[in-house]
Amino acid sequence: MKLKRVVITGMGAVTPLGHDVPSLMAGIEEGRSAVRYMEGWDQYLGMRSLVGAPAELKDEKKIPRQQRRSMGRMSIFAAQAAAQAVADAQITLSGAPGFRIGCAIGSTMGSAKSINDTFEIMLPKKDLSQLNSTMFFQCMSHTAAVNVAQYLGLNGYVLSTAAACASGLQAIGAGYDLIRLGKQDVMLCGGAEELHPTVTGSFDILFATSANFNKDPQRTPRPFDGDRDGLVCGEGSGVLVLEDRDRALARNARIYAEIVGYSTNGNGVHMSQPNKDAMVRCMQDALQESGIPAGDVDYINAHATGTPQGDCEEAAAVRELFGDAVPISSLKGYLGHTLGASGAIELIASIGMMEQGTIYPTLNLERVDEACGGVRHVLKRERADVDVVLKNCFAFGGINATLVCRKHRSERG
């Protein structure tokens, strides 16, 4: 069976830097941090990290009420990002007979605020009678995927890849595999996540969050930096339109890039400790599928969230495969860690770098930690031909995911 080729023809994003892809790129270009002090979080006893990167919820009433009622904050972001991606791809959602379009949208969990509100209403007296019918739809773990599908009328595969920080990239990988196998023609793929004190709290109790910069929020997170002290949660959604390449060419679609390799694995070792060998294996497998040698990668978009252990483990893995030959940067300093959305949002930004011929630096990386050395850190903006991008996500539960994309050039076969 001949596998199909898969290209990216549309992108949409709602992020802490703004409500669309141009504002995401503009924010990164300006070196802006969306991290701020979060009012009211100090009410949570024992919460160490009081910073976060919120996105703005706006224009939600443009979504008709009967579609919006099942959407928590996160699903609204996902629906908006998906609609942007569809418009960007200039794709008609109801095609010829037999046209198969679905979606894969990942998130760590259902809507955090809706889950919180549901239990706050129900628990004091274990009273169910106060609960709205739609609370369940906002809380259920596949809420973002089904809301995108219902909102856009998609009736193909509807997948929800829940893998913490790897959710978005796993969704894109799943869509890629489905189209390659000829099972779907188009897939809207990405991730979504919501910022809430309980989400930060779940990392906070593990001492994984940044707690030293509550009075100076924009100086954190600090990926790969000697003074890094943990991650900062963000929120938003990124969605990409993945399409069968033949179909995209036949309709003269604008093609951003081709997905040429993908892999995901578990480290099988520890629930929270990252593992260099599993990361290496994941990147190797993705590269092998792409047929592109490690030395031909032009840019690595790192997972690096600013945690002491995660960043140096990723640096060690990159060092082993690439040495110091390939520029690497993390976008978490601008956006915070958007968790389930991060793979998609950061891939979108990486494709933006391809388009602009520019590699943006790791924000807040002022003094490279020795343990993160031996790789080519990008400390200042660089002009470069970014043809091949490798995107990493390394999640809790030891889940790793790597995607390799190559810029589309029409003269290529």
């Binding site: 009433k61 009420r65 009678s129 106060q130 709205n132 019918s133 739609t134």
Partner: protein
């Protein structure tokens, strides 16, 4: 004659929760076919009315017979008057 307060508060639920303009809230309006509510909305309508009027109506049999706004006004009035009678 239904108390105006019941009419106003019921209409507020439709305006605030279901985003329906006040001009459409005529007493004879059918909540499904005229106002566009569906089965999921009915659950939320009951919760919203319970909260608005501080009454319990979920297990009332007559809830099943509600079709129009006028039916809701009359239903609420009946529940309130039964509760007033209990506490009298």
């Amino acid at each position: 004659m239904i108390e105006q307060g019941i009419i106003d508060k019921t209409n507020q639920v439709f305006e605030e929760f279901f985003e329906i303009e006040s001009g459409r809230l005529q007493p004879q309006a059918h909540i499904f076919t005229d106002l566009g509510l569906d089965s999921l909305d009915i659950v939320d309508l009951i919760v919203a009315l319970q909260n608005k009027f501080k009454i319990k109506i979920r297990n009332e049999e007559d809830v099943q017979n509600i079709r129009t706004l006028q039916d809701i006004y009359a239903f609420i009035a009946a529940v309130k008057s039964r509760e007033a009678a209990k506490t009298a």
